[in-house]
Amino acid sequence: MGASAETLTGKPAPGGKGQVRTFFRRLRNGDEIAHIFTLVFALTILLLACLLVYELYAHSAVSRHKFGWSFLLSRSWDPVLERFGALPFIYGTIVTSVIALLIAVPLGVGGAIFLAEFAPTKMSDGLTFIVELLAAVPSVIFGLLGIFIIIPIMRESVDPFLQSHFGWLPLFQGPVYGVGFLTAGVVLSIMIVPFILSISREVLLAVPAEQREAALALGATRWESTWQAVVPYARVGILGSIFLALARALGETMAVTMVIGGTPSISSSLFAPGYSIASVIADQFTEATGQAYLQSLIELGLALFVLTIILNGLARLLILATTKRGTAH
């Protein structure tokens, strides 16, 4: 306070007037304006995120007080007795997302490598266009696709096949309905493949040609140069696309709701019907009666937010770890 008063009233600090003049010059040049604008936009996004968390937090007060931390660990979801727990939904959200990633990552990254490195440019552009169209399809369409095409295929072919060949695993035991964790994961994987493929392809295309040429010059085959020189170079971008896809899978609502089976259960079998956080909110929010019921659904939204933050944090750690290893080469 004293210092600023001194600069305002006391000796005209040498930098003071100059700084003001610089500020105005920069203002006229547009630098300051761009600075202010982008700052406002950035703060707006931050504010929106904070507001979202605050709203979720404030509107789940009844549920938080009634259930406390046991909300996260309880397996019961009983609207009649007003006993609510989040564990089956958290489990379902993670399991379906993991299944989706297990299918979509090899498919998406493999496809991207082919399109960026091996396919003729025209074919690559054409295929990418079609794949990107997939990303624009509304999720309810994927849900319908799931109900009418994927569920019958899963029930009649895929699930029985898995059961007869890998039935010794607890993952593939129990009755087959067609709906359930596995089907939801498969539908999700179709939805997130475009993200992985499209972004990974862009990243691979951005790898400098010298990278390939150097590897080829050292006597590497085409595939060796791709796998050992190009892909590691693009690794961070590819991982980024996978995490974007993961975020999308965690929050996907409509398509999952339509094929997951709508049963809050935790089962080791992937054939069993389950539930995800986003689905139960979409399903039950409109007709939820009573404060505890409604607020438990809002608290589930908060749980999903936190889950996403945790998984994103882990993703960043993973990127950090692999980047360090990369530089050590």
């Binding site: 067609g178 539930y275 007709e287």
Partner: protein, 356 residues
């Protein structure tokens, strides 16, 4: 030239950012200017039950044709939303599949008068390979199927009352609504009445903790799952079954007769229960008395505040309710709703005097 453009751009940018700041700082003007001065059109906002949406929009449309200056809007947001918005007063009146009980009513600041509008029913549908006959269900069989106690289609509980039908031993897959809905409320309300064990173990609500089975989203989700899953059983609204030509079973009523759900048998259920209504329409008509009453029937409701700050609006709403209960009932049946029986209409008409 170049610097001039820059200056212009800067000025423009300032103007835009200033406008931005003003907008983000000031509150949106909270307008309550929709007062109904005579002559200008009166807008009445209603929101709630999705079940009632087709008939409500039909009524609003016909009423608007007869009264050009009155416009009614319906937001098909679900019963829970309808109750909330009635409570907060953001709509003129609400619509709900569940009546408000006294405990809920005590949370309202204003007095609410509840009217029944039309009726619906919930029917059991099934998919048993090789069986195309109309199956008969006893109340106990339905409850025990959804409790997971009756697990095969050839169980005596089902086969015993269906002597002519050859039922396979397939394992029953019960399907329920995964979303919370009035349909589930009626279904579980019925099961709670006919099965003490259901009442003790599960109870009734718009969504419950189902002991067994799969969940499908919406009527289309349930019917889709049932049609695709061999040996499954599910429940849907009568109106949905009629519109989609779904085969559904008959259910034994309180008189021991197996009744197929039709508009007539649903109306009969309300007539049977009308005797219990004494100036209060909030009674459940599941398992209602009456020879021809279909046992899984229900009303759907309007929740109307007893007093209106705008007297003209109050008069119009009162007139609309009167019309809906009398002339309006003829539009119900073509849309698949059962109209109210005369006895119930009379009780509702007497409730109109409670509106000021």
């Amino acid at each position: 030239m170049r610097s001039l453009n820059r200056k212009r751009f800067a000025a423009l940018a300032f103007a835009v950012s200033a406008a931005f700041a003003v907008v983000s700082c000031s509150h949106a003007p909270s307008g309550n200017e929709a007062g109904s001065s005579s002559g200008s059109p009166v807008l009445i906002n209603v929101a709630g039950s999705t079940f009632g949406y087709p008939i409500y929009s039909k009524w609003f449309d016909v009423y608007h044709q007869q009264h050009a200056n009155v416009e009614l809007n319906y937001g098909s947001i679900g019963s829970g939303g309808g109750i909330e918005q009635t409570r907060s007063g953001t709509v003129d009146f609400g619509a709900s599949d569940m009546p408000l009980n006294d405990q809920l009513l005590s949370t309202f600041k204003t007095k609410i008068v509840q009217f029944t509008t039309v009726m619906g029913a919930t029917v059991p549908m099934y998919n048993i390979p090789g069986v195309t006959a109309e199956l008969k269900f006893t109340p106990k069989a339905l409850a025990d199927i959804y409790l997971g106690k009756v697990t095969r289609w050839n169980d005596p509980a089902i086969a015993g009352v269906n002597p002519g039908v050859k039922l396979p031993a397939g394992k029953i897959v019960p399907v329920h609504r995964s979303d919370s809905s009035g349909t589930t409320f009626v279904w579980t309300d019925y099961l709670s009445k006919v099965s003490p064990q259901w009442k003790a173990k599960v109870g009734s609500n718009t969504a419950v903790n189902w002991p067994v089975g799969l969940g499908g989203k919406g009527s289309e989700g349930v019917s889709g799952l049932v049609e695709q899953t061999p040996y499954s059983i599910g429940y849907v609204e009568l109106i949905y079954a009629l519109q989609n030509h779904i085969l559904y079973g008959t259910v034994e009523n309180s008189s021991g007769k197996f009744i197929k759900a039709t508009l007539d048998s649903v109306t009969a259920a309300a007539a049977g229960a009308a005797a219990q209504m004494q100036n209060d329409v909030r009674i459940s008509i599941t398992n209602a008395p009456g020879e021809d009453a279909y046992p899984i029937s229900c009303f759907t409701y309007y929740l109307v505040p007893a007093t209106f700050s705008d007297a003209a609006k109050g008069t119009i709403i009162k007139d609309f309710l009167h019309w809906m209960l009398t002339d309006g009932q003829q539009y119900a049946a073509p849309l698949g709703y059962a109209p109210l029986p005369q006895a119930v209409v009379n009780i509702n008409l007497s409730l109109l005097s409670q509106l000021q």
